[in-house]
Symmetry: C2
Subunit: 131 residues, 2 copies
């Protein structure tokens, strides 16, 4: 049991995670998750996203939206009205990811206190052992 990794793991992680990591880095990037979750309930407008996420800059919202659209995770629809109206919605591929993202945030919610405590304890041991 203590040797379950020797020689096998390297191939699993190498061959699969490497091309996958590029995808994941993009999809699970800093702002991608909240955007995908916010857009999961239906088409959502630029300004709505900007307010919903709070903390995101207009610049990063634009950049992340572009990347998600480029990767085929978001569908961008421009309504040629005045003032302009642009809506973003998940593509089928992104919808498939939604459940997993909820699991991810669910896990984070359930354990965020425990994690914070662990971090505090760790810092205390190393920061001011006996001062």
């Amino acid at each position: 049991m203590s040797q379950g990794n020797t020689g096998v793991t390297s191939q699993v992680v190498n061959a699969q995670a490497c091309p996958v990591r590029e995808v994941l880095d993009r999809v699970v990037g800093k702002w991608s998750v909240p955007i995908l979750i916010a857009a999961a309930h239906g088409p959502i407008r630029f300004t709505e996203l900007e307010r919903a996420i709070e903390g995101i800059s207009r610049r990063m919202l634009t950049l992340t939206l572009r990347n998600l659209e480029r990767d085929g995770l978001l569908k961008r629809t421009v309504h040629p009205t005045v003032p302009p109206k642009v809506e973003y919605e998940l593509t089928p591929v992104a919808h498939e990811l939604h459940g997993t993202l909820l699991r991810l945030t669910g896990w984070a919610e359930r354990h965020r206190v425990t994690i914070a405590e662990s971090r505090a304890a760790y810092d205390e041991e190393r920061g001011l052992v006996d001062a």
Copy 2:
């Protein structure tokens, strides 16, 4: 259906994703996922991780391991032998995350070709429409 986001989403994303995002940024960071997956099969040594992940620098491996240990996701065991032997293994909290991480990489594997194609198509439309 096209208005499912108005006013409701903002609270969902704000109140939940914000504290959660800090946790996620750390856990789903660039190198955390491959490390957690590689360590899921049982205790694994520093050098084994270094070879298994391939592309990670010794520095980033150390830093990410420290963060994961600090957050209580990895348990670090030092065997006082010579030469030293250090093993990392998932904590129960991290084990709870493992299934979700596999879903995540599974999704990335299934769609990475589609995503690459989408990206290429997007670039072609904008890069050299008729040149």
